[in-house]
Amino acid sequence: MDHSGLLGRIFRGVALTLVLVFFMFPIVWILMMSFQTNEQILRIPPRLLFEPTLANYEALISGQLRTAAGNLEISFMRNLFNSFVLSSAAVVLALLLGVPAAYAFARFKFRLGETIAFTLLSFRFAPPLLVLLPLSLYYQQLGLNDTYFGIVWVYQLIALPLILWIVRGYFEDISPDIEHAYRLAGHSWREAFTRIAVPLAGPGIAAAALLSFIFCWNNFVFALILASADKQPVTVGALAFVTASGIQYGQIAAAIVLSVLPTLLLALYAQRYLVEGLSLGAVKG
């Protein structure tokens, strides 16, 4: 292709800028809002130039929300911590359960195998609200309401199917003969799994883990119903910014920036694996 024409280059630059603005604008706008006070944000017309303030971040980190009606205690940092604990625990657990299961589904044909795999996947297309009511009743009976364990268990419904189905594809792409060769060389079945299959599916496992972490992190409705204040993740905690004296836009923006940060950093770190994992699954001869 020849892009050397001046017109072509200009057009390409314009098109790229448009796409960039389209995708980046909300993020940039939120970032700007997070450095403004509520009054500055609500000014009409909005201004691009303003005096930045760190008051929003200060309020979030110190846990003191100053509103027109007075000081309000918020536990944003606690929420952030909860989000982190809940999502990582759910992903770790889902990896421990899902990776061996994915391997089993990929390598062995057994009775009801496809049915089980599909049932697990179907958790992803059932609306959460459908299961939520019965689930909260069960949880109250079992005493799992408002426990980390209980919420992590529900988060499995989000993480496990994703991991299972993505990782299964990677295992299927690895020639079983590589493991066979390793086993013939004097290694057990278990060693072939941990030393050959898992490392080879590594990029896929990383991609699946990251994706399911993001899904868990973004979950709202399970935590809203099943967790009380001190166990709530950021998604639910953000409701606290809708106060009696109005919506605290500045703090919400700052909260969004802070809550996006961990997943963003994780994604940037894992990007290498992600690209490799999503584009280059196969180990071809």
Partner: protein
């Protein structure tokens, strides 16, 4: 080292909603220590299933496998003392060629200098010593195949299984490696089974060839025996290039023995005393049966039967002539160059002593005189 015994081995693949596939049927095979055996057959004949059952990646449905007096068919692959080169190479991508070849030796905890020495030696043998530090991704298919072969041959095992070990190699290299690998196997007294669909490779490398079809072992014999004494129609038509001419013949009893008439001008007279009892009985009992003759035994240029030429190819050292006679297509191979064009009529002759005779069930009841 040990001898391999397969006893009544069956393999049935069952899958839900489909009829089960009987891949290997009642397979009996004895491979003495130090013998090189080729499993030859078309694809889907059960040869790879057999290999995988010996290696332990497929369970036997019934029957038993013993290697050096140990029953191995219930053991995990790691304990069978079997080395295998896979058709798909199956090299471990994160390891270099050297590490790939060495990993079985490392698992045996051999000293480092010994590992290096053995890897270097086998790498020279299969001519990959210049790529030992490359990764599998960076080398060609033919090179990967040789690495896979080296990884199997470098080990100390009771049995070496090679699945299409040279399919990807260039003809010249293939010829060289065949010789070297045969030398290595013989020198170290290694027992080996390799799967191939290339008759030339089977003949060059193997002491004996097991011909399989439809999961059944058709014949297990030397290349010469397969050619001269095919057990049945399948082996007769499968072994040899071009394949044996097979013709339907009417049987008629006469004074000297039997007349086998393929067409009006084409009658073979078989003397009764050249046949054994069973063959005589079979001939007496049948009205029609199949006779076979190798294309090399069809003499073109003289004789009293006429052949209408369909095609004539000179291959540089022999002519392949296909022709029609009494409505039957015949192939003839002669070392002379024959000047005949399609639709020309040439004389040819076939002698009764070169006939193989097959009973109705395909079994060969009478073999041609050995060349």
């Amino acid at each position: 080292m040990g001898m391999l015994e397969l006893r009544n081995v069956d393999k049935v693949y069952g899958s839900r909603g489909k009829p089960p596939v009987h891949a290997v049927r009642a397979l009996d095979m004895d491979v003495p220590s130090g013998e090189i055996v080729a499993l030859l057959g078309s694809s889907g004949c059960g040869k790879t299933s057999t290999l995988r059952m010996i290696a332990g990646f497929e369970e036997v449905t019934s029957g038993s496998i013993a290697l050096g007096r140990r029953q191995i068919h219930r053991l995990p692959p790691a304990q069978r003392k079997v080395a295998m080169a896979f058709e798909g190479y199956s090299l471990y991508p994160p390891l270099t060629v050297r590490e790939n070849i060495a990993f079985a030796l490392k698992a045996q905890q051999l000293p480092r200098s010994e590992v290096t020495r053995r890897v270097d030696a086998i790498a020279r043998l299969v001519e990959i010593d210049d790529i030992l530090d490359s990764y599998p991704r960076a080398i060609s298919g033919g090179q990967q195949q040789r690495v896979s072969l080296a990884r199997a041959l470098v080990r100390d095992a009771d049995l070496y299984l090679l699945d299409e070990p040279m399919g990807q190699l260039e003809p010249q290299l293939r010829a060289v490696l065949r010789g070297r690998i045969k030398g290595l196997l013989a020198e170290r007294g290694m027992t080996a089974i390799f799967v191939t669909h290339d008759q030339a490779e089977a003949s060059a490398l193997a002491d004996r060839i097991a011909v399989m079809e439809d999961g059944i072992l058709q014949q297990f014999a030397s290349e010469k025996d397969l050619k001269n004494h095919p057990a049945n129609l399948f082996v007769a038509s499968f072994i040899g290039e071009p394949p044996m001419n097979l013709l339907q013949a009417e049987v008629a009893r006469n004074d000297g023995g039997f007349g086998l008439s393929v067409g009006p001008d084409l009658v073979f007279q078989i003397r009764g005393d050249t046949l054994d009892k069973a063959a005589q009985k079979e001939l007496e009992g049948s009205a029609r049966l199949t006779v076979g003759i190798r294309p090399q035994k069809v003499a073109v240029g003289s004789g009293d039967v006429r052949l209408r030429v369909v095609s004539n190819q000179w291959l540089g050292d022999q002519s392949h002539i296909a022709g029609e006679c009494a409505g039957k297509l015949l192939i003839a191979v002669t070392p002379q160059r024959i000047a005949a064009r399609p639709d020309d009529v040439v004389p040819f002759a076939m002698e009764s002593r070169h006939l193989h005779i097959f009973a109705g069930d395909g079994t060969c009841i009478h073999h041609a005189e050995a060349a």
